[in-house]
Symmetry: C2
Subunit: 213 residues, 2 copies
DNA sequence: ACCAAGCTGTGACTGGGGTCACGGAAGCTC
DNA sequence: GAGCTTCCGTGACCCCAGTCACAGCTTGGT
């Protein structure tokens, strides 16, 4: 979001912000806690996750700076609906609820920009619901690999995380990821060497990812 | 939402609205279409659903008047992320995108109210992701029955829809709903007679619904 | 070079739930 | 009440995914 703010807006917010730093893997706030305010992510990367008591996890989104988190509870007043965990060294600016409201009133463009952001989030989440309801792990995995591939620009890239983390991102467990990767390899869709993925048949992967949605 | 509007806001919108009526079961708009504007639901009930090509469906939310739908695409500019279908005879008021923007600017309270609504939606959706990712149909069904029970006020109520529709609401298929209902009955949690449900052990149902989240 | 700690691959097993196929029940219309 | 249509229950079957267990592999540290 706040890349789209103009200078006046930026400084209005800057005066109210409290800077906080987090080492990778820190829980910035946990699901269920009362909402303190909104966080602007200035540097770093955080993930928004839902967790079960037994330790399973699904990642709702990954947010890289510049971005914001905790827009939901700040507006509807409830507790945080999910937890946020830093993935890399992260710098965030916390703005207290009431301060943020005040800025919203004095800068009416801010709510509009917020709405755009919320819209995007909601859209992502709808896609996620669709993927977990109708799709298999295989499909979600294929999609994720394609995303990483295009992000990397080439047909070959390194897995940016362990199978364990990848599993959580997809809402499943390590073994299933491992097995499905092997299966893709056995089918000739990709080659795996150490932790690097060579996509051999992007078209085939795309078929897997999209079939039957 | 627009129950919270004041008179000035209401009339500012009313001037721009186009009234439309829909018989039950009508597709008001379908996923993927370009967004015309925002719909205010004046009377009736609509459901927001995601569908697969093979006809399976999951209901994202049920919205009874007064409410709004299509807030997402109006702000982020993309196509509709899901389809909206009337459940009962429905009257909606369509407000074109640009008209709505204009009203937003002249009535800065409206975006703020919108944000509250979006927040609630997002929260619901997060819950749904959690439910479908980690929960079983059994759990979701138990939860739904409890919801209906409290809504009805007593321990006994009529199923408001066929098993088929109930299945779609839960993101599964008819047979599975049927089986799970039978199972609940066999376990003494409830009694079914024609289409009426008698909850015999609400506590037990609650356990089922909440276990292992 | 070695060891320890984390990663990764795989086999065996289980259970949920989706699909197919029917037969029976309940409502409707004439 | 005959015949239709829509709904509901159930059995058979299969496959995906989650769990447990364990062995082989990296990797980094000293």
């Amino acid at each position: 979001m706040f890349s789209t703010l103009d200078d006046a807006e930026r400084s209005a917010l800057g005066d109210l912000a409290v800077e906080r730093r987090y080492a990778p893997g820190t829980v910035i706030f946990a699901e269920g806690e009362a909402c303190e305010g909104i966080y602007l992510i200035g540097e770093g990367v955080v993930k928004i996750v839902k967790t079960t008591s037994s330790g399973r996890e699904i990642m709702l989104t990954l947010e890289a700076a510049p971005s914001t988190v905790a827009e939901v509870p700040i507006f509807d007043g409830g507790p945080y609906p999910a937890s946020v965990v830093s993935v890399r060294e992260t710098v965030a600016y916390l703005i207290a609820k009431n301060d943020f409201y005040r800025v919203c009133r004095s800068h009416p463009e801010i709510p509009m920009k917020m709405l755009r952001v919320m819209g995007k989030r909601l859209r992502q989440l709808v896609m996620l619901v669709q993927a977990v309801t109708f799709g298999s792990v295989r499909q979600r995995l294929a999609q994720q690999l394609l995303d990483w591939q295009t992000e990397a620009g080439g047909v070959e890239f390194a897995l940016p995380s362990s199978h364990e983390e990848l599993a959580m991102r997809l809402g499943t467990v390590r073994e299933v990821v491992s097995r499905n990767l092997s299966r893709f390899q056995a089918e000739g869709l990709l080659a795996i060497e150490r932790r690097r993925i060579h996509v051999l048949d992007a078209e085939g992967l795309r078929n897997e990812a999209e079939s039957e949605l």
